[in-house]
Symmetry: C2
Subunit: 228 residues, 2 copies
DNA sequence: GAAATAGTGTCTTTGAGACACTATATG
DNA sequence: CATATAGTGTCTCAAAGACACTATTTC
């Protein structure tokens, strides 16, 4: 808070927000409109505003809302990335968050053309992203995969009411491999996180039971990994 | 890097370094010698020096060395703690690290009296620590316990050569409960992280096999939790 | 030999994997 | 009826828990 007279590193927040569309993992990116990396795709983020943000989580939320119009269903700190070379302007420190959301199309309700967009994870290698954002996304993806093995975190990629089949698909998309429906049902049962609702049809087949998160429950962590 | 003219939050690094002495978990604390919280015990930390620290990890290492004379065997990012109220000087952001080391006595080789000291974790509630450091230590402890359930991390609390019995004691101290020797041996075997050496006696009993970390191996993560 | 610590053998328990089988929907 | 998706029954498999038993050392 004191006026600093020596060189201070720049502290920023970056968000890796994931959602699943079309059976693929997508990341939300925004197009930069300033140097450096002008016109490059980048992670939505920014600097803390001491007067608005009660903490760094609030800052991450605010920046996501402001830059993309979306609010994550789940948000957690990923890791701090730092060093003299990741930003051409000099030494920088960035706290990356990773976030989950049920897929929501983004029209560029913010500005003119397509400044905000979902990008399939498997197409990112074709892009050159700003700063070390490619690297950060890779770490976030790994964390997400790890957590999908032992927790119910993937439910945050689903609407408030969903079927076991949908959850199975989400987990499989995150992991990039199939899991046993039976194992998932056992976990749903054991977690005691959900309540039941009416029915709902899917494509041609038997109607599936609809589940719903109990209000205010914590996500269950299991003490074994699944599918690994 | 630019000279900022609006209020910037203060970014600092704090270290929660654990070691085991006398069958107890200890945390390394330093006595503050400046306001605020003058003369209170606190976590060793400080601000990033752009010219010395290639990243925040290097900063954490340097501060530990400088303030305590010790270098951790293991260091990882814990979490960022932030907000307007944790430091009376104003909005602050602190990246906490958690670190492990085989127990080494600290003589106050730094300054006059006891400005650096190991404190048993179970006696900390008797102290009033600076800032939110009590809270940070609690988080670090939880993380350490969690990781002890599914990884070989606790070996970093042991000297370069050690017995199964010693590792068992370390893990039990961290977890605060007993584990099965057999389970631990299975993990040591399965991890393939160690090589054998000669022998060594302990108190009255059969000599124990000495193990040693293979050079350059990664710590193994298992896909089940132990003892939980 | 008694006590103490190190290490093994092996049965039980827990929870995931595999996969066949039943149930209910649509055309 | 065929086909598709939902859900169950149940056997197998992997790894941890329990715990007795053997091995080696000191006194």
């Amino acid at each position: 808070m004191t006026e600093q007279h020596f060189t201070l590193p720049l502290f920023t927040v970056d968000n890796v927000m994931f959602a699943i569309d079309n059976a693929k993992l997508n990341v939300l990116l925004v197009k930069r409109a300033a140097e450096p990396y002008n016109n490059y795709w980048s992670l939505p983020g920014g600097v803390v505003d001491v007067t608005l943000d009660k903490d760094v989580e609030a800052c991450a939320m605010r920046k996501l809302q402001q830059k993309t119009g979306l609010t994550p269903a789940y948000l957690e700190q990923l890791e701090v990335f730092s060093g003299p070379d990741r930003d051409p302007r000099g030494y920088s420190i960035s706290l990356a968050f990773f976030a989950l959301l049920p897929y929501t199309p983004v029209s560029s309700n913010i500005n003119s053309v397509s400044h905000v967009s979902w990008w399939p994870l498997d197409q990112l290698h074709q892009l050159t992203l700003a700063f070390d954002h490619q690297h950060i996304i890779h770490h976030a993806h790994q964390r997400l995969q790890q957590k999908a093995l032992y927790s119910m975190l993937p439910v945050f990629c689903l609407p408030s009411t969903f079927t076991v089949g949908q959850l199975k698909t989400v987990i499989e998309t995150i992991l990039g491999k199939e899991i046993q429906r039976k194992s998932l049902m056992r976990r749903i049962e054991a977690s005691n996180m959900f309540t039941l609702t009416e029915q709902k049809q899917h494509s041609g087949g038997r109607q599936a039971q609809l589940y719903q998160l109990k209000p205010g429950v914590n996500i269950t962590h299991f003490n074994r990994n699944m599918g690994a």
